[in-house]
């Protein structure tokens, strides 16, 4: 047993407590770093020293490891939960915007303009001879056609925008996958040298979290510290390699076209965007059905009537659906509007009356409801979809927040705790230093005794 045994023991303790303070400092410094996992120093006693076969004496402390406090099971649950939240929240946001396109309730909406057109027909039925009533019909009808076309245009540009966003999500996921592949290599190299590369692991977990938020990717952790990431049956990252997602969207099946099998997207922002596009397309299909039924029905009745010029067979609307509905060239002259059911009777408003009756007449093409009711049902459906998506996103948010709280309670940095640790290590350091000075005075006494002046 060396005479400096005690001093060496003290130095080991000083080093260990300094590391403790360093780690505390690292934790405090990263209190605001997103995705940072708190570290903890694990101390262990150094091997004992045998003075004689019956007596062993302790030799102090060493830092065994610096632990990264993370619950991987919880982490995976959070990623899955966040992916679902990302899907629902994206859908909520987009549906809210789509709802805004309808301008309901309001004067600019299709509902008000349908009412205005039927009122104009009614006014024409009362005053079939009046040019003012005819102008009123033209005005109301072209305002309605404008509203149809502009809503259709807005929906289509919204659809294009959503498609672009979906492409951007796929692009981002592919870039992250490539980064993750490179990170896998670095982590494997670092792990093989023995030390846990904490900051690399934090970075890896952040990438995985973002990937599941984007496309609902799932991770599988290997023993060597690398991670395999996959979406449905498609492997996105394995070891150092990444395999990009294809970008051909199959909205109806919520999938990406791929060979041999399509990749189904179950959650994440990408799925939310696909859901939004599917909703948008179905609203637009209803709008087109409404417009084409209006065109067909109004024309069928109008063409049987007589204009003030006593000619018949005039068409009222031109076009096939909401994208291209306009007034027909036939009624460019308002006197050609066929209000009368017989010729030579400017006071006859029979056809105008039949047109006005379309307001509430059930339509086979619309499943037995009237034009106005069909549109109201569409608005009800949109409103309901927004409300449901809002409620679902909010409840999923609570679930994710709860999981995040659990994670934070394991992995998050608490300044109070770090302050206490700092005091603890500081005091321990002081004690170890005291110990060294005690051994020092012991040695001094001994030296004076051995070699007196």
């Amino acid at each position: 047993m060396s005479s400096f045994y005690g001093i060496e023991l003290g130095i080991r303790a000083l080093r260990a407590f300094q590391i403790g303070m360093d780690v505390t400092g690292h934790n405090v410094a990263n209190v605001n770093t997103p995705g940072y996992t708190r570290r903890r120093v694990v101390f262990a006693p150094t091997p004992e020293y045998a003075i004689n076969p019956r007596l062993r004496i302790g030799s102090g402390v060493l830092v065994q490891s610096i632990q990264r406090l993370r619950d991987m099971m919880l982490e995976q649950r959070i990623n899955t939960g966040s992916a679902d939240f990302a899907r629902l929240d994206t859908l909520r946001q987009q549906l809210k915007e789509i709802e805004g396109l309808f301008n309901e309730p309001g004067e600019q909406g299709i509902s008000a303009r349908l009412d205005a057109l039927f009122n104009a027909f009614e006014a024409l039925a009362t005053r079939p001879d009046s040019m003012a009533a005819r102008q009123g019909v033209i005005q109301a009808a072209s305002a309605l056609a404008d509203a149809f076309r502009s809503l259709h245009r807005d929906m289509t540009s919204k659809e294009n925008q959503l498609m672009e966003q979906a492409q951007a999500r796929i692009e981002e996921a592919n870039q992250l996958a490539a980064q993750l592949g490179r990170l896998n290599e670095q982590i494997r190299a670092a792990t093989s040298s023995g030390a846990e590369p904490g900051d690399l692991l934090d970075q890896r977990d952040r990438l995985i979290a973002r990937l599941s938020e984007l496309v609902g990717a799932r991770a599988h952790y290997a023993q060597d510290g690398s991670v395999m990431v996959y979406v449905d049956g498609h492997t996105l990252v394995q070891d150092g390699a990444s395999f990009p997602l294809p970008n051909a969207l199959d909205i109806a099946n919520r999938a990406l076209d791929s060979t041999p099998t399509d990749i189904r997207i179950q959650s994440g922002e990408l799925r939310g965007l696909m859901d939004s596009i599917a909703h948008l397309q179905s609203y637009r299909a209803d709008l087109n059905t409404l417009a084409s039924t209006l065109i067909t029905q109004v024309n069928a009745i109008h063409s049987t009537g007589y204009g003030l010029d006593n000619n018949t067979g005039y068409l009222f609307f031109d076009g096939t659906d909401a994208s291209n509905i306009t007034l027909h060239a036939d009624i460019g002259d308002p006197s050609h509007i066929a209000a009368a059911s017989i010729p030579d009777a400017p006071g006859n408003g029979g056809v105008a009356r039949a047109l006005a009756d379309l307001r509430t007449a059930p339509q086979g093409a619309l499943g037995g409801v009237s034009l106005t009711q069909f549109y109201r049902n569409l608005i009800g459906r949109v409103g309901n979809d927004v409300q449901v998506s809002k409620n679902r996103a909010e409840s999923q948010q609570l679930t994710v927040e709860h999981l995040q709280m659990l994670r934070e309670s394991v992995s998050g940095v608490s300044l109070d705790e770090e302050a206490a640790n700092l005091v603890k290590y500081q005091r321990s350091y002081q004690a170890a230093a005291k110990m060294i000075s005690a051994f020092d005075s012991l040695l001094e006494d001994m030296l004076q005794f051995v070699a007196p002046r």
């Binding site: 009362t126 009777a345 006071g347 109201r376 394991v410």
Partner: protein, 295 residues
């Protein structure tokens, strides 16, 4: 449970965020007075509101229709009132003409009078409302209904009804469809004129007087019919006034807020917002590092 510092701050941030959201929602509701701004605020309510709006629009249009029909019917009724006066005068002329002791001058005066009445009747028959539509030409509206040829008045209208919708299942005829009878009356006046010319006091007293009396009661009946229709219009107008009020009430109930409740909600949200802010400042002040300072 271990609470991390970052989580603590995030929780408070979120609490303040939620309080702000709710506060601004009620601020908006109180300032706009509306609880539905988008269909998703109340999908069922907003569909109902659209349906009510449609009914209100329809009622508004029926209101226009009723006013239109009333103008036409009133003009027609007035025409019958004038014809009634004209028939009273005719009756007097006929009974004076039936007197054998009438001298030639007096007879000439009666003939002048009857000619004048014929002219007035033709004017009444060809009367137009608002200067364009003939009252009595039916759906031929812009064709002059009565023309004179060879001293005989003929009806050129079609006697078809001008219909006005006043309810989904009720159309009211706003014109008089038996206008051909005005021509018959005119031609009767021509007969009387001829009988006065020939001094045929016997026919005047026996036949013409009776005929005119028959015309009087017939045209009186027509005037009555117009009155009946005018009263029906009035009934619809009263009905719609009540219905409109009721619908507007339901619409307000669906779309608008109860101001008293909204203001108390707003107060409450202001309080919880302030509370969230205070919690934030309190919690921020508590930190072990502060206590250890100088230690």
């Amino acid at each position: 449970m271990r609470i991390s510092t970052d989580w603590q701050f995030r929780q408070m941030e979120r609490a303040i965020g939620r309080a702000t959201d709710r506060l601004s929602l009620w601020q908006r509701r109180v300032s706009t007075g509306r609880r539905i701004e988008q269909p998703s605020d109340d999908p069922v309510g907003s569909v109902h509101a659209l349906a009510i709006r449609q009914s209100l629009q329809q009622i508004e249009q029926y209101g226009h229709n009723i006013r239109e029909a009333r103008l036409f019917l009133q003009a027609t009724e007035q025409a019958f009132a004038n014809i009634g006066t004209l028939l009273n005068e005719t009756r007097q002329i006929v009974s004076q003409g039936a007197n054998d002791t009438l001298d030639a001058d007096a007879r000439d005066a009666l003939i002048q009078q009857i000619r004048h009445l014929k002219e007035r009747l033709m004017q009444l028959g060809n009367q137009r409302t608002d200067g364009e539509r003939y009252l009595f030409s039916g759906q031929k509206l812009t064709t002059q209904p009565f023309t004179l040829s060879g001293g005989v008045l003929t009806y050129g209208g079609d006697g078809s009804p001008l219909l006005v919708n006043v309810a989904p299942d009720r159309a009211i005829t706003m014109n008089f469809t038996g206008a051909a009878r005005i021509a018959d009356l005119y031609n009767k006046l021509t007969e009387i004129e001829n009988h006065l010319l020939t001094g045929d006091s016997d026919v005047l007293s026996r036949i013409d007087l009776r005929d005119i009396e028959a015309f009087q009661s017939e045209f009186n009946r027509y005037r009555g019919e117009m009155g009946v229709r005018l009263r029906e219009l009035e009934n619809y107008e009263t009905l719609y006034a009540a219905r409109k009020e009721q619908l507007q009430g339901s619409l307000a109930e669906i779309e608008e807020i109860d101001l008293t409740e909204a203001i108390s909600q707003l107060r409450q949200q202001e309080l919880s917002y302030q509370a969230a802010l205070q919690v934030f400042t309190r919690v921020q002040a508590i930190n072990l590092f502060d206590f250890l300072r100088g230690g």
